[in-house]
Symmetry: D2
Subunit: 422 residues, 4 copies
């Protein structure tokens, strides 16, 4: 595929320098459907990024689209602050029936403002309020958002520097496998907690991702997560699972922590919870933590009702049985095989792959290779991103609804991009 | 109108205690159009709150609705991260042609995540980065948002307490008329700045609302704003106008600061910028402040393309000439007359009213009266809110597109509610 | 007097650039007695600085010297940590009998480490612990010390910048007469406290000097101090009087707040409490505030027993009757007359003087004049310092024990220095 | 020895509850000489605590006493702020000739206020200023002082809680042997530094004690210190050695870091630097770090000239040759033998001992035993303290000038106390 450099002028002259993805993918996109995006020059792209995990059901999923158009056409409430609406009730009831009850999860549901970082801010506030302590433990290479509360528990030095103030009240601990097995799990964390002279401010909570997406597709083992949950309980710290990117089925089960069999105290959801890529987020917590006063945390767009409509439609369409989970695990196996083959084809690259469900990472010995591969993949019509502190990992995040054929096509392009970036 | 208590069960059992508006307005809303909302029991409400200013063009405005439906039907990109899209380009070009150029405003445009607090967080980060200082001055009774950065410059003690950590790096100064003319404007602020022994950490920026909506409809005079802008320039502080609630025509002109003839260094927009009540926000700044590195501030829902579509449609429909501004000022005069009449009818209430454009406040000597009035208004079919630190001010925030007849009807209900809450 | 530049070599080559007084007074001092210091070249200086108020009883006061030598000769405990010693008991009993009981002051006595800043750190810790809040209000141009807790409530921008971290948890309020009568006292402070939307973090305490020595000899009126004490009580804030420089008789009475008739919750003493210029400090507080756990605040040199000996000797020698207070007020009147005469002699200088007891300041229209006067005074054999944020005030701080003749001589040198710096 | 409960009344009624040592040692001490203290009831105590290391030359050492008395008698300057004095010059020259030059140490000398915590505050300020970063790394079980800057890098949870504000800008790392060899040295620290996604704020400096006295007599190996110094250099962090308790010969050499062959960027000294137990402290740093502006850090008692006199006398008496170091190591060997014998006598106690020079710790399996031993030792006439986060270590800190006979006597009392606390 030959791509003519698009006319980016207004983006270049008017939009801030902060823009990023449009630099890696210099096209002007116009339409999208399922796993395909189309630019204004008629090029088609296979999307292995899926809105950074916000499009688990693909672009403009027809089932959700129908529900959305119907709602808009009949003048359903679009903007409802946190007023009770029929759309919100339908979502809440569906979420309870399809998600919470079958999993025996006791959570209360909070609408904290429709972005991930807002869900994290609400989670951190609540944890601090509940425990009366300021400190929160996060993990190396964590990513939780860009507002000051979330940024303080995010690992990336470049993003942290943007704060313009010292980020405090957070302490990083080693994520699973940070020392590649050389150090027993939680040795450092537990010792700091038990030693009255350690200097660690007693944490109100621990915030963790089960798979670190931005951090380089670092996968926590179920036993590590269980040990963490046990440590939190033993030491009176709340466990917050940030499931914004890994929830909504990305790893197979609806919640990514289900496999480990743990019940976090607080859970954040965003990205794909709305189903159609529209802003929505939730903070879930055990009922005894529902210590909020009315209006203590608010936000204008908490009641993004069109997203409630597509959210409920997505739950009804995909989560009333175990089909979606099975399919995701099967597609994941397909990815794993392809990545294994890439490694086998190029033993000199020292390629390592890792993942769960439909989130996978591919790392090379040469830390600049991932970016080259992604750039070549774009030229070949595949949208694929890198992650990790040095962008050293190719990150595969296709829609969960991708067909085996599309998945195969994308994996073949990836293999070719690896081959052609020697 | 008699209202049967609605079946709120799932809201009460599943949704967090943090919910607020649904408590004042115990109805389950189903549809909305223009200045009317309809609950599932068939009651109609006249809306004088307009999504806290997010619905300046009314609920489900038909012009915007058409554009939105067309876009969705043709599978325009819904979720685009910060990729270049045709919808985003159309918005940027329209914003430039309709808003920035005619006003000779040189701003660069940043999409910081689609909520107001995210726009404020980006503004504060940028100001701190640009000046290399941490401290930001805000004003008494300011409201800027709920994430930690924004909350630190928000005045409300109840909301601040929710942070769970000490909120620092901000210092409040008296807003216009805080001492009812007893103290010269900026006497305290300027003295602190010029006195090398004052103990004030030199601010990177000042953040201000031209009219404090949440703070009690406190209206800054143009000359006060000009003096503030001059002070900022003289003392090397950036001036941030948070125009999230007062921008997009709420006070008459598109930007609320136009009347004062100032050009802030940074401006935040959200709420009505999307036009249709869908999440969207912008941070605008002078080109020399565009110091962001690519991706230094990001967020999943920056590219809420359906909102870009309705945003562009709204600008094209309402802001290509001076009609909207004129109309808003005329409607505002209508409100002022009605409030004046309410005061005259009940001299014993000591009613004070104040406002600009279509944002007005009505305050009584008895500080509990406003809540009683709003409650009675709801029973009479009018949605109206209170504001101020003690909810002591009735706040009028109708859609800018409200008809004179609807406006009159609402004002008559308000007058009746005042009468009936003796 | 002609002064040969002294051999400062080791000071210049080995001592840090941070040294300060030795720059204004380029002599190498060898001996001292009463109000006189002698350098190694045989020059004599009249001392109007008295160790920044640490030498209220003059240099090497013979009464205290005798007590000290006796103690050292008999091998009394020199260093006692916070062990009980006979010297400490004698001091405590004397302090109780001579200072606390006659004034009906109920304070408990803490030995917090022998420097002023340590006494302030202990006071702030205790106030925060007692109230469970972080914030402390200080005043414009306050000076409380150089360690991080004290520095955060100190006004001077230059000294604050030395912290290397943002100084937070403190908010400055205008000291008495900051606006020269244009603004009612405490208007701003009280309004911030009563307004639930003001953005002020509720303070645990207020820390104040009755006369700001470093800040420019700013004298708080008794009625202002009484209003402050009343405000603190009304608003549940602890009142801390930092009497480190103004206590021990500097303003006449033993405590500088006695004149106002207030009883602060916490008082800090240092500088002259040891009597002989040796490090010692105290933090006093009402018994109900004695919430310390054993050892919760400690320090190696809390038990500087030689200072306890001279401290007790000073109290016994000077404070068992009202003689010292009367004499200080009389000497103060002598100073006031001389300053008045200087002003009258040079009407063009716009000289303003202010003070209480034996602390006085002289300010000129030309803000550089004070430094010139002090420099000329040194050449004429008078040690005198400047203060204020721009060193714009000549500061008179002679020993309380100075003879009328020495005082007169110094005042004549001062007048000459003013005359000769035109 | 039978001890009559002393009359502690004024201590109990007037002194704050914060007092600590006087609770363990309920005697009223009157005189002291060498390694003996005498209470007012005629009891004699052998002192194995030596003012927490402030009395390395014993109580009221006659050589220093003579110099002090001479100085006081001839009216040498007692209190000199930071003016140049002959006493200060003599100290500086002696310090240069006896301490710095022979060791080829290039340090500038700062007098930061005469307590240890003030020296640490100055060191931290300077490091932050030099590097333009806020964060400082400290170690588990570190002790650096009680003012807010020092407390933030101190490990003890009980003392940290006294701050009343969240202590931030510090991060603890594991001290040597924290994991008893299970984890490679600096694995965690170095990984955090090299990983751009670790979440560690880049430190300006690392502050360390070579032997943690308060923390439980934890002895860092020379190779660990060398690796730390190398890490600091490699990663552009300043190395601060807090030698307040371990310097001045406590471990053998004058500076405790000499054995490791490293040259820290900044060194703090206090406690025994004055020689006679009078308040004095120093902050030393490499000349290129002397970035202070004149007066940027100050303090009233920086010029405690009597302490300069005894400090110079001590250096001249004990440090002009290698005698003191040799003797300390020999005495240390005597201690080690005795502790070994105690362990051998009671194999069931699992006693562990550790130390260097004349600082030793003895730990038992039963963590309450140390306090019992110290209490019994007091009854037997030996002053000995415990340390460690749970006071689980008996701490031996005799004067360096103790005679072999006195040392032997004390060690025998200790052995007896162990025996009698079964």
């Amino acid at each position: 595929m030959t791509i003519t450099p698009p006319a980016l002028s207004v983006f270049e002259t008017l939009e801030s320098e902060v823009r990023s993805y449009c630099r890696s993918w210099p096209a002007v996109f116009d339409r999208a459907h399922g796993s395909r995006m189309y630019d204004e020059d008629g090029h088609t792209y296979l999307d292995f990024f899926a809105g950074a995990g916000a499009l688990n059901y693909g672009h403009n999923n027809p089932v959700l689209k129908r529900a959305l158009l119907d709602y808009l056409e009949r003048d359903g409430v679009t903007h409802g602050l946190d007023m009770a609406t029929t759309a919100k009730r339908a979502f809440l009831e569906t979420f309870q029936d399809v998600v919470l009850r079958p999993r025996d999860l006791p959570y209360k549901v909070m609408f904290p403002g429709p972005t991930g970082t807002n869900a994290v801010e609400a989670a951190l506030k609540l944890a601090r309020k509940a425990k009366g302590r300021e400190s929160v433990v996060s993990f190396t290479n964590a990513f939780h958002g860009m507002s000051l509360g979330s940024l303080a528990v995010t690992g990336n030095a470049f993003k942290r520097a943007g704060a313009g103030i010292p980020l405090v009240h957070g302490t990083p601990m080693p994520f699973d496998n940070y020392f590649e097995g050389r150090v027993p799990d939680f040795l450092w964390f537990e010792r700091l907690l038990e030693d009255q002279g350690s200097g660690l401010n007693t944490p109100a909570a621990v915030i963790v991702e089960t798979v670190q997406g931005e951090g380089g597709i670092n996968v926590a083992r179920p036993e590590w997560l269980r040990a963490l949950a046990a440590l939190c309980e033993r030491r009176d710290m709340l466990l917050i699972v940030d499931d914004i990117q890994m929830g909504c089925g990305r790893t197979g089960a609806f919640f990514s922590f289900e496999e480990a069999g743990i019940t976090p105290d607080i859970v954040t959801l965003s990205k794909s919870i709305g189903g159609y890529g529209m802003p929505m987020s939730l903070t879930l917590f055990k009922p005894e933590l529902d210590l909020w006063e009315p209006g203590e945390h608010n936000g204008t767009f908490r009641g993004n009702n069109p997203a409630f409509v597509t959210a409920a439609a997505a739950l009804n369409a995909y989560w009333t049985d175990g089909q979606m989970e099975k399919q995701t695990l099967a597609r994941g196996e397909q990815v794993a095989q392809a990545l294994r083959a890439i490694g086998a084809e190029h033993p000199e690259l020292g390629a390592q792959y890792r993942g769960r469900g439909l989130v996978w990472g591919l790392e090379f010995t040469d830390r600049t290779r991932a970016s080259a591969v992604a750039a070549r993949a774009f030229e070949l019509g595949l949208l694929i991103e890198t992650s990790g502190p040095e962008s050293e990992v190719v990150k595969l995040l296709p829609a969960l609804t991708i067909t085996p054929e599309d998945l195969d096509e994308g994996l073949r392009i990836l293999a070719r991009a690896v081959r052609e970036t020697a």
